[in-house]
């Protein structure tokens, strides 16, 4: 049998990293939310904040565990799948990942122990501080890993000697041209995604008439947050795109399926890019809107895909469609959040049942946007693994295709099992809802489920 080792290594890496990013996205946002609830609890002394905090901590525990184990896989896969890349980029990327481990992972892991098990062992303030420390840890971790990824997109601060990158300016390496945009966009994405999960859970409780007090608190907090962050994401994303136009123009051309650089760019609402003949089939477009967004002039020109040979173009369809999926999610989030804010302002938020029912179903929009965004970014970088420095085809490990295919199958099976159970358990925890005065049985579970009992305060 004939397997293409590079393609398989890419598929395997894409699969495992897409699986991984689902959980950081959620835990970065959720840890910040939990810390906020903790702070509100300390300040006001109101129990509903504590109940909510404890509720989300249980869900956090399950998703964090999945984030950790899938992350450990990734840190080794850079060596197992991309050993030639490791040699070329090791001098530069190694320290960034090293800083992530030392500055973030130990911090998160340790204080997570206190957050999950410490409520009866440590003073309240230390408990809440631990929640905040976990949130800070996840943010530091995002900082370093995104610095590493951005360096692969827009390498800076180094020189090549005998085909190996040697750092010359660490500040330029870390704060490379695309890093600030990517960090802001990703961090905001994490908060938005979590905001929509909280919004959906609050709406679900209200729509089904359970946990009313907690549901209202969640709904208000989530709408307040997302109504600001969703429009903000559009602004950050726009700036991110302008910056990418400067550094990776062909990626932008692929995102817009723009072929001929001599013409102004239309904005394609729908199209089927024909990579063979170099034009768009079935195109539905707004004339010149692409140029307007990207150059702020009607007849502004941006480079087209045809300006480089086919072997230097990214896979246009993947980039084009994933970008459109992200945009669709983004605009949906803006509309949903602003509509909620409008109902809130009118004072009818908790009575507008159709809105609550609809929102209860939309917990996943952020995750889809994040995955689509990453697929845009990473596929748009192709055929380079380090932009203009190292081709992906020259970066893989000397491991036979069949071996990679076998482990890819193992990953699919294993992650399939883990993911199905994880989603199922999280859904069950959500259905059970927070413990509280109106949870309809706050004492009942003490005998039944040892975990909730422990986390509620009977553990020794």
């Amino acid at each position: 049998m004939d397997f293409d080792p590079v393609l398989l290594a890419r598929l395997q890496f894409a699969f495992t990293i897409i699986f991984h990013i689902i959980f950081p996205t959620f835990t970065i946002g959720l840890s910040a939310y939990i810390a906020t609830l903790g702070a509100l609890w300390l300040r006001t002394g109101q129990d509903r904040y504590r109940f909510l905090m404890q509720f989300w901590v249980k869900i956090f525990a399950v998703s964090f565990a999945m984030g950790v184990v899938s992350g450990i896989v990734l840190s080794y896969q850079i060596g197992t799948n991309w050993s030639r890349f490791s040699v070329v980029a090791g001098n530069v990327l190694g320290p960034l990942l090293g800083y992530e481990v030392l500055a973030a992972f130990f911090l998160e892991a340790t204080f997570l122990g206190i957050l999950l098990f410490g409520i009866n062992r440590v003073p309240r303030w230390l408990y809440v501080v631990s929640a905040a420390v976990v949130a800070v840890g996840t943010t530091i971790s995002a900082f370093w890993i995104l610095a590493a990824n951005s360096w692969m997109q827009t390498p800076a601060g180094f020189e090549m000697r005998d085909g190996v990158a040697f750092p010359t300016d660490w500040f330029a390496v870390v704060f490379n041209p695309s890093f600030p945009y990517r960090f802001a966009h990703m961090l905001n994405a994490a908060y938005l995604t979590t905001g929509f999960v909280v919004l959906a859970v609050g709406a679900r409780f209200l729509a089904t008439g359970r946990h009313i007090a907690e549901g209202r608190t969640m709904l208000r907090m989530a709408i307040g947050l997302t109504a600001v962050l969703a429009p903000l994401q559009l602004i950050i994303g726009d700036q991110h795109g302008l910056n990418t136009l400067k550094h990776q123009p062909i990626k932008i051309a692929a995102m817009e399926a723009h072929w001929d650089g001599a013409l102004p760019a239309d904005f394609e609402i729908f199209a089927w890019p024909d990579e063979h003949d170099g034009f768009n089939r079935y195109s539905v477009s707004i004339p010149k809107a692409g140029s307007l967004v990207l150059t702020h002039r009607m007849n502004g020109l941006i480079p087209g895909l045809l300006s480089v040979p086919e072997k230097d173009r990214p896979p246009v369809k993947v980039v084009f469609f994933s970008f459109r999926i992200m945009l669709a999610m983004g605009f949906f989030m803006i509309a949903a959040a602003l509509l909620g804010a409008f109902f809130w302002w009118r004072g009818t938020l908790f009575e507008t049942t159709w809105y609550l029912r609809a929102m209860a179903q939309t917990w996943w929009v952020g995750f889809v946007a994040v995955i689509a965004g990453w697929v845009t970014t990473e596929s748009g970088r192709q055929p380079w693994i380090i932009y203009n420095i190292l081709r992906t085809a020259d970066a893989n490990s000397p491991v036979p295709g069949a071996t990679v295919a076998g482990t890819l199958a193992l990953f699919i099976v294993a992650y399939g099992i883990v993911f199905s159970f994880g989603i199922y358990y999280i859904n069950r925890l959500i259905n059970k809802g927070p413990d509280g005065p109106d949870s309809g049985g706050s004492g009942a579970h003490f005998s039944g489920n040892p975990m909730s009992a422990a986390r509620d305060g009977t553990a020794g």
């Binding site: 565990a65 950790v68 184990v69 450990i72 050993s83 090293g98 030392l102 990953f411 294993a414 040892p450």
Partner: protein, 333 residues
């Protein structure tokens, strides 16, 4: 040239690996003894004794891997493809073991995830032993890249190391339970330690004989003069510690068996370091051959010197916060 940077980095990575072996060793060991518990309530108690720590323990594995990537990218780029299958299998086993901590408590039936915890622990342990065995034996390298096949790792010595590590982690786990739990769980763990300790000693002897017999460079390291004069204390101290550990187990001491088990591990580890230094990928690549650029090693060294004390500090904090025994019947967490 900054010739001294690579040995410093070798020491740091050596420390990370040692921390990993001891810390994750005892919680993998608990997974290994999982099937022998009477019921899920006992398993709850066993798991509770490690639940606040396991994530931090496993982070040392990430530091070991990332450290290798930081300081010795060329070694990383040879070792990972060479040990591709054992590494991936180990990672998958750790996935199941890690999620079992949380999934076990939220599922209706605990026993399924208890089995996943056991299977994950034992597979990860054997895979780590295989990785270790191959690193001792050496890896086929040409022009700085791996040249062997996908299954070169499957050889008798590596499998012996896999079994040895089951005994070793089992000993760490059993003595940890002796120290951190009470009731039937602790009593059973003390019994188990009585079996694990002799097994560990036999395996240590086997590895110590096998390597010098098959690897001339290791025989020369230990048995040439004057090395022999400096090195004979290593086996002697090992024997003394083994004896003290045994006494500790049979006389009902609480912490001594666990500390003794750590001591045995450290001496075994020291023995391997003596056999192989300065090779990182024996028999061809030394720490100097594979080192990252001095600028990279320095940049990271600064961070390590600043951050590592903090890391150690809050690790001490969490072990202190969760000090004392976990009793039977305490609810989870």
């Amino acid at each position: 040239m900054e010739w001294y940077l690579p040995p410093i980095w070798a020491a740091i990575i050596g420390l990370a690996v040692a921390m990993y072996i001891v810390l994750d060793g005892f919680d993998l060991g608990i997974g290994i003894t999982f099937p022998f518990a009477r019921d899920e309530a006992e398993r709850d108690q066993m798991m509770r004794s490690i639940a606040p720590f396991w994530d931090g323990n496993e982070t040392w594995l990430v530091l070991g891997g990332a450290g290798l990537f930081v300081a010795f990218p060329r070694a990383y780029a040879v070792i990972m493809p060479a040990l591709y299958l054992p590494v991936i299998v180990m990672l998958l086993a750790l996935v199941f073991r890690g999620i079992a901590f949380e999934f076990r408590v939220v599922s209706h039936s605990k026993s399924g995830w208890s089995q996943a915890f056991f299977a994950g622990s034992i597979v990860a342990t054997v895979a780590q032993g295989v990785i270790l065995g191959n690193l001792i034996q050496g890896i086929a390298v040409k022009d700085g890249g791996y040249t062997g096949g996908s299954f070169d790792w499957a050889n008798p010595f590596a499998l012996l190391c896999g079994l040895a590590l089951i005994a070793g982690y089992g000993l760490l786990g059993a003595t940890w339970l002796t120290m951190k739990t009470d009731g039937p769980v602790a009593t059973r763990a003390r019994q188990q330690a009585k079996y694990f300790l002799p097994a560990v000693l036999i395996f240590m002897a086997a590895v110590s004989l096998w390597t010098p017999l098959t690897e001339a460079r290791i025989a020369a390291r230990w048995f040439s003069l004057p090395n022999f004069y400096y090195l004979w204390p290593v086996p002697s101290v090992t024997a003394l510690i083994a004896f003290a550990t045994w006494r500790g187990i049979v006389t009902g001491r609480e912490a001594l068996p666990f500390l003794g088990a750590i001591g045995l591990f450290m001496l075994g580890y020291l023995g391997l370091v003596i056999s192989n230094f300065p090779y990182l990928v024996p028999p061809s690549l030394t720490v100097w051959d594979t080192a990252a650029a001095p600028s990279s090693q320095t940049f990271m060294l600064i961070g390590t010197l600043v951050l590592l004390p903090f890391v150690l500090g809050y690790i001490v904090l969490i072990y202190w916060l969760f000090r004392g025994k976990v009793h039977a019947g305490d609810s989870y967490h």
